[in-house]
């Protein structure tokens, strides 16, 4: 090689060497950046990669009746879980799995569809089937190698051990909704739900969800890229949920539900109550407010409402004690004053009385539910006093029972017609009527405008203009009359309210609290269903004491008169006479029947009029312990729809249905 060429090569290789060192320097620099400056960042990324937090679901607490019967528990179960990253599109795995599951809802196509639906969240495991039997578990385990991406996870299954018994009280679970998650995110609720959690939706399961659910535990697991666990790093054990011990008595509940169903079936056979479907009944302790039994019908679907706390009903004659209390307290009547019943009230709208024509004092009027007597004392007393005493017995406020979704009666058409409520209603009604007429007036104007525009001659136009003025004037006058009428309280309204009809409605739970307060001397208790919260070993975490909401401002004397008058209802000639005849003398039953006439369209057909039957009672009359309330929609009469159920419940509670007692009862009846 010539020297000149060698020099050229030397120069080129030197430049090349510089390029080499430059490139290597860039690589080393980048390496140093990643490994030294960004080491912390990538170290945590690597930790995130290999560490998986797995939830260990806490066992949800049991719900136990006051007589020690476990009504709801968590049972261990197994579920099939799919890793969608592996399973989706893998027809062999899906077909094998479908064959093992042998479920017509989970065919290979159906599973494929589920995988496809979840393709946007491939990393999220799919719970394909819950609660699989142990045989299926072992089949899947045995063929594990063919079922890549399919795994069996343990879970727990909420089990309602006695089917529908107390179903409305217990409630049910469901997957947490977006609305619930949003409320939590906004700080509106004090929950710690995560997506996919099962949470209480209604009833006790919802109200006590935070207590029942406990606290989930965690397992930190080291995994590889395929999510296969390599080792456990750390375990935080879950905290089991607490158990609820109810005030509700299983035996009494069973008797209540059976008697209610039996009576509904019986009512359906009668033509005047053949539409019976919906009913509510509740039994509470008079001196504590503890709920001993509660039933709502129908109960064939979990989503049906609990009518005891969610239904609002016109009380009918059940309300008459309030009218009487108001009249007695304000001195507008004495218990012995007699008022004549000529068949219907002598003031408009001349409401009929079903009681025989004659003179009535407080006791006989209550016993026979004479409408004239109560309209008259209501008229004397006035609506303000009636509203005041209704509120004294808790009819203007929600009961505050420990169940979710109690109807609070906040709409203008709901609740007790107190002064405030009447004003709210009148404001609303006035606006509605004004709007209705304004619309009519505008329509009329429009109509005439078109007519006048279409008219050909001047005379025609003048005639139309005159007609228009007339029509508008009539409408304006009508508007004035109707707005006035609907924004004023009328005497007739008072008469209606005095006998328990008209614009008022209450939940059966409110009625129970009211009737218990009459029985116990005026104490309004907050009804409650849970008496104790216990840990899983049975240790008591919290004991719930009765809560007094209010002491009614009513004299002992007045209450004694009312109690005495209610006894007349079950006595000879009373509206519930005969039902409790067989009870021993020391267990007398005080009661009131009611027949409500809701304005609903279903209540009047071409051939007949339907009514709701309302029944309240407490016993023993001289030492009250429990109170009963039932409402049967389309039940026709208060006594017929409620008294047989009440009788069964009282018999169970007082032990009157035991064989020995029945024998003596037979003797007693025979003697009579």
């Amino acid at each position: 090689m010539q020297t000149q060429e060698r020099k050229k090569i030397e120069k080129a290789t030197k430049i090349y060497t510089a390029v080499v060192f430059f490139i290597i320097a860039i690589l080393v620099g980048r390496l140093a950046w990643l490994q030294i400056w960004q080491n912390d960042l990538y170290q945590s990324k690597a930790d995130n990669n290999r560490n998986r937090l797995m939830t260990i679901t806490a066992k949800r607490g049991d719900i136990i009746s006051s007589d020690g019967v476990v009504l709801v528990t968590d049972r261990p179960s197994y579920q099939v879980v799919l890793d969608n990253q592996i399973v989706r599109g893998n027809t062999e795995v899906i077909e094998t799995l479908a064959k093992i599951l042998n479920d017509e809802k989970l065919t290979a196509e159906a599973i494929q569809e589920i995988c496809d639906e979840n393709r946007m969240r491939l990393y999220k495991p799919i719970v394909l089937k819950k609660n699989i039997d142990i045989e299926t578990v072992s089949q899947i385990e045995a063929r594990r190698s063919e079922l890549e991406g399919v795994s069996i996870e343990s879970a727990s299954d909420r089990t309602y051990l006695y089917g529908n018994i107390a179903g409305h009280v217990l409630g049910y679970l469901g997957e947490v909704s977006q609305a619930e998650l949003d409320a939590q995110a906004n700080g509106e609720t004090d929950t710690n739900y995560r997506m996919g959690d099962y949470v209480g939706k209604v009833g006790l399961e919802k109200y006590y969800d935070q207590i029942l659910r406990g606290k989930d535990g965690y397992k930190q697991v080291e995994v590889n890229a395929n999510n296969r666990p390599l080792s456990d790093v750390k375990i935080v054990e879950p905290m089991e949920g607490a158990n609820l011990v109810l005030t509700l008595n299983y035996e009494l509940q069973k008797v209540l539900e059976e008697a209610l169903d039996k009576n509904i079936a019986l009512l359906k056979t009668s033509k005047r109550s053949d539409k019976v479907e919906n009913a509510a009944a509740v039994v509470i302790e008079v001196n504590t407010g503890a709920v001993l039994a509660m039933a709502s019908r129908p109960d064939d679907k979990i989503t049906q409402q609990n009518r005891v706390i969610q239904g609002r009903y016109i009380p009918g004659s059940i309300f008459k004690p309030i009218t009487a209390i108001a009249a007695l307290e304000t001195g507008n009547v004495t218990p012995t004053e007699k008022i004549h019943n000529p068949g219907r009230y002598w003031k408009a709208p001349y409401i009929k009385s079903t009681a025989p024509i004659g003179y009535y004092n407080l006791y006989s009027a209550m016993g026979k539910s004479d409408n004239v007597y109560f309209q008259e004392i209501g008229r004397r007393t006035g609506i303000d006093a009636i509203g005041y005493y209704g509120a004294e017995f808790g009819l203007d406020t929600p009961t505050g029972i420990d169940l979710a979704y109690e109807n609070r009666g906040e709409r203008v058409s709901e609740g007790l017609p107190t002064e405030e409520k009447r004003q709210a209603y009148h404001d609303w009604a006035g606006a509605v009527w004004a709007e209705r007429y304004d619309k009519k007036i505008a329509e009329t104007e429009e109509e005439y405008k078109n007519l006048i525009a279409a008219a050909t001659t001047n005379e025609e136009k003048k005639a139309l203009e005159k007609k228009r003025k007339n029509a508008i004037a009539i409408l304006e006058a009508d508007k004035k009359i109707n707005v006035k009428w609907n924004t004023e309280w009328h005497e007739a309204d008072t008469y209606n309210v005095a006998i328990g009809q008209g614009r008022q409605n209450y939940t059966p739970m409110q009625l129970a609290v009211y009737i218990a307060a009459i029985a116990n001397g005026g104490t309004v208790y907050q009804p409650y269903l849970v008496q104790k919260i216990c840990d899983s070993q049975g240790g008591v975490l919290q004991e719930i004491k009765p809560t007094i909401l209010h002491q009614a401002n009513v004299s002992v004397k007045t209450l004694a008169e009312i109690q005495k008058s209610l006894l007349a209802v079950t006595d000879v000639g009373g509206t519930a006479y005969g039902y409790f005849q067989s009870f021993p003398k020391d267990i007398k039953v005080a009661a009131k029947t009611g027949t409500a006439q809701p304005g609903g369209s279903g209540y009047r057909t071409s051939t007949q009029q339907y009514y709701d039957g309302v029944f309240v009672a407490y016993a023993p009359a001289d030492n009250p312990q429990i109170a009963f309330v039932s409402v049967v929609e389309y039940g026709y009469s208060g006594a017929g729809s409620g008294a047989p159920v009440c009788k069964a419940v009282f018999e169970e509670y007082f032990g009157l249905n035991q064989e020995g007692v029945i024998a003596s009862e037979d003797v007693f009846m025979y003697n009579e």
């Binding site: 390496l31 030294i36 080491n39 690597a46």
Partner: protein, 374 residues
Amino acid sequence: MNFYRKLIGKMDFILLAVIAVILVSGLLILNSAAASKEQAYVMKQSMWIVIGIVFLLLTIQFDYTILQKYVKPLYIFNLLLLIAVLIFGREISGARSWFVFPGIGSLQPAELAKIMTIICFAHFLDERRGNLNTLWELIPCFIFVAIPVFLILLQPDLGSALVFIAILVGMMFVAGANPKILLTIFGGGVSIILIYLLGVWKLGWWCPLKTYQLNRFLVLFDPNIDPRGVGYNVWQAKIAIGNGGLFGEGLGMGSQTTGSFLPEQWTDFIFAVYAEEFGFIGAGLLLLLFAVLLYRGLRIAMLSKDLFGALIATGVVSMYLFHILENVGMCMGLMPVTGIPLPFVSYGGSSMLANFFGIALLQNIYVHRQRLIF
């Protein structure tokens, strides 16, 4: 025998020592990267290393200049091999790049084609020395290399094809080709491609590549692209490297490696394993050793007794350099993702053989730099 011993004694021992250290550390890392695999990766790799050493020792006695006599048949053989693999090769992950001999192993002709092309192209350039000044004179050189490149692109194997371009540029530069034209063509080419890719990415320009192929380039601009495909690979490699820190997690202790988060960790992404387990100290040293290797190669080019030897040495260095830049750069998110192995470290027989052929050539050129006295 005495003569042979003399030849051995004249070899570049610094180069040999550097390669020995890279090989040993590479085997340790391979052992850890392939821990989850049942195959005897380390044994097979060691076998290829032994074959490479034997080849080196057997060929050292023949002066490389005799290769000049065989360049024509070698070039044709090279092309036939590349055509044959397109017809008889086995398609693996979408590319027809391998001959598979059941029970023996597989052969990747593109790896050997690099060495054969270097030898033939060195002779081609040697004959045109002094006549590489105009574009017109350079075009035949491009065509000479473009033919094997075209065949490799048919497989398709873009990574290997790029290696040929690096070899072409390196060799032509040392051969004295007009550096202005070289810089214009290749500097301009790289710039145009970058601008075009940006256009495809941001403005949705038309592109003949399939999305997954395109993403291998676009991941340079946006590491979050295709997070379940190529983006995932690069991301995991970066995590592994970053996780290594200064001192590394220790051999067999890298969580990214043992948890199989790293894809292709015994071949394309082995540098990430190296960096995770040996840390910056280990991986930085590896890059320095590569720098020394390349420097010694260029020194051999400079010391070569003729232009033919100098060009072969440059070609071999260019081949190594591009492999290192591309492989290490890809792991760190600096280069597009193309599956080419890291010299002497990645698992693979064909690549190891090709690398040893390169070393054999370098040592041969070094040993025979002066006429030996018999």
